[in-house]
């Protein structure tokens, strides 16, 4: 079954030739390498190492970062299209790319010293070194500002103490960008996998993002050299800048999942005969397909518009919140509707539906939960923050 992307409002015509070339490059790779192997990877609960290498070879890791550091210096729209195609394969695959590019490479490129950039970025762009991003802690998820992990200045080195949880790529990472408090102020630190006092055990038992590695990061008097702190950022601005980029990518990625579910539901509805006719001929089913098309199309317009704003530098974080929240929400609803259209077949791993649905439950929660984004937008509307009781 040849994949034909839904493009009701001809988004393609709004993209440049090279943006489409990059999209098609990733689309073909996902069709050839990912879709035939993803179910096995999920069943085994592993992220195929060769996929990370392939992403590096294609040059999509940290692809918006300057060419000087071995990256591609491409547009955010191109990055969005890449996320869309990766997530059409699997949200775990897109998570890998988001974490590597937006959460690990981006802070080094934006807040790192020139030496840090030259040292880490080219090897991370090629996929030789894998990165992770440690912000969330067991007791601080939506509220990272109160994190416990801390760094102490020991003269010629820092000591890190604390624990992070739910860290994508943690166990397989060579480089961890870790946020910790130094004298009460949040700072970014680069921790390498062999640093003494650092370990990253894998978290198991996930029903979602099974092809993505999720880990704890544990720091027990973890000793790191002085030149591993990111010099140019203090406070929550550091991690939040990274999250803005990753959330932007997710707003495109979710369209990919939704497209996969829509495509499967459409094909299934056209071929499944009940009461002598294809179920696609019944109005209730058409209503569902029409709803899917409508939501995907709106999501595409939102993502494209945001992408152009990102490239022009005229965006505000609340616009990213809206796109992340809306597009993940619609994708999850489309996955559920698609499951319904597939009837019993919808629960089988022969179809991508249940996998996307389960994955999207994580995507709804990470990078700012759905409701945290509502609160961000609520604050923008009213001027009143409602995250805490101290008003």
């Amino acid at each position: 079954m040849v994949y034909e992307a839904l493009d009701f409002y001809d988004i393609e015509s709004e993209c440049t030739e090279e943006e489409i070339m990059v999209r098609d490059m990733v689309r073909d790779w996902v069709d050839e390498e990912v879709i035939p192997n993803i179910e096995a990877a999920c069943r085994e609960g592993r992220f195929p190492e060769e996929w990370g290498k392939a992403l590096g070879e294609m040059g999509v890791l940290g692809m918006t970062i300057d060419e000087k550091y071995g990256c591609a210096g491409m547009s955010y729209v191109a990055y969005g299209l890449v996320c869309q195609e990766l997530e059409r394969g699997d949200s775990g695959l897109r998570s890998f790319a988001s974490v590597q590019g937006s959460l690990a490479m981006f802070p080094i490129s934006a807040f790192g010293s020139e030496e840090q950039k030259m040292h880490y970025l080219p090897k991370m762009a090629s996929g030789e070194w894998i990165g992770c991003f440690g912000l969330t802690e067991p007791d601080y998820g939506s509220n990272p500002g109160d994190m416990i992990t801390k760094a102490s200045d020991q003269g010629d080195h820092y000591l890190l103490n604390g624990a992070k949880m739910w860290i994508t790529n943690g166990t397989v990472a060579d480089v961890a960008v870790v946020w910790a408090k130094l004298d009460g102020v949040i700072r970014g630190f680069i921790v390498e996998k062999n640093d003494p006092g650092f370990s990253a055990p894998e978290m198991t038992g996930k029903h979602s993002l099974k092809a993505s590695v999720t880990s704890e990061l544990v720091f027990q008097d973890c000793k790191i050299p002085k030149d591993r702190m990111l010099p140019s950022v203090k406070g929550l601005k550091g991690p939040f800048s990274c999250l803005n980029n990753a959330r932007f990518g997710i707003s495109w990625g979710a369209i990919g999942s939704a497209q996969a579910c829509f495509h499967s539901a459409k094909e299934y509805a056209l071929s499944r005969i009940q009461f002598d006719h294809p179920i696609a001929s019944y109005q209730l089913v058409q209503n569902k397909l029409s709803w899917m098309l409508r939501e995907i199309t709106k999501g595409q317009l939102l993502a494209l518009n945001l992408g152009r704003k990102k490239d022009a530098g005229t965006w505000i974080p609340e616009q990213i919140s809206l796109a992340k929240m809306n597009n993940v929400d619609m994708a999850l609803e489309i996955a559920r509707m698609a499951r319904d259209i597939h009837g019993a077949n919808g629960i089988l791993d022969e179809y991508p539906i249940m996998r996307h649905m389960a994955n999207l439950e994580s995507v709804k929660t990470y990078e700012g939960t759905h409701d945290i984004h509502n609160l961000i937008i609520g604050r923008w509307i009213t001027g009143i923050q409602s995250f805490t009781r101290t008003l």
């Binding site: 030739e17 090279e18 070339m21 294609m58 692809m63 591609a72 491409m74």
Partner: protein, 248 residues
């Protein structure tokens, strides 16, 4: 070090549904791609350069709409991209196409030409041999394997009773079948190079055409399949496969 050229053609995506409007094919809404066999020719040209040095020039013939296939070739790593065209041209016949390509190949001092064994739209298989004929060069067609030597290449050509390993000295035109190599994929850096690359446009003197297309018609509709259910039908199916379909 050889001047290598590869001929690439823009064709409708092989999955595209082709419609006829009036008495002409309507290609206004099809997706265009590089003809699939040309991807293997491109790979062979790149392998040739990797083995023997030289430069690879990708050449297409057509309007500026065809630049995309050249950009695709550039993204994969060819050195130059050339489009042969003159705004006074429209719908060229094979004779004109081959003459125009030959003019460009001469201008580029090409020593070896790779192309697909046929284009996915016309399926005529005439360009490779036709170009060789006009150049007065050796022509090997439908190759399914290749090795590079100092003064030429050794190719594998399918024959009815097996394959012929054939040495060819340059200059030559080599048309490629699929499957003997894995066409390399572009990467983002290649795509950025392609974005910046300039397409060189060459004109040519071509003969006047002596043919004209009167009309296009769609292929006949395929008869719908037959469905047999249950073990009792096995003899009927076997008989149909043997007598009607001639497959067993």
């Amino acid at each position: 070090m050889p001047e290598i050229a590869v001929l690439v053609k823009r064709v409708p995506d092989t999955n595209a549904k082709i419609a006829i409007s009036g008495d002409r094919v309507d290609l206004s809404s099809v997706k265009w791609v590089m003809s699939p066999y040309d991807e293997f020719a491109l790979e062979a040209a790149m392998m040739h350069k990797e083995s023997n040095g030289g430069t690879v020039t990708a050449i297409t013939l057509g309007t500026p709409d065809c630049d995309k296939v050249l950009k695709d070739a550039k993204a994969i790593g060819v050195d130059r991209i050339v489009r042969v065209w003159d705004d006074s041209w429209s719908d060229l016949d094979s004779n004109q196409v081959q003459s125009a390509l030959v003019s460009a190949l001469k201008e580029l001092s090409t020593e070896v030409v790779y192309c697909g064994k046929s284009a996915a739209d016309t399926g005529a298989s005439s360009t490779g041999p036709g170009v060789a004929e006009r150049m007065g060069w050796a022509s090997v067609s439908n190759i399914i394997g290749i090795e590079f030597e100092d003064a030429g290449v050794e190719v594998l050509i399918p024959r009815n009773i097996g394959n012929a390993r054939t040495g060819v000295s340059l200059p030559a035109v080599i048309s490629c079948d699929k499957g003997f190599c894995k066409p390399r994929k572009p990467n983002v850096k290649g795509i950025m190079m392609a974005k910046r690359a300039q397409v060189e446009v060459l004109g040519a003197d071509i003969p006047t055409s002596s043919i004209n297309i009167v009309s296009h018609t769609p292929p006949p509709q395929k008869a719908s399949g037959q469905k047999f259910e249950g073990a009792g039908n096995v003899p009927t199916v076997v008989a149909a496969l043997r007598n009607d379909a001639n497959v067993i």
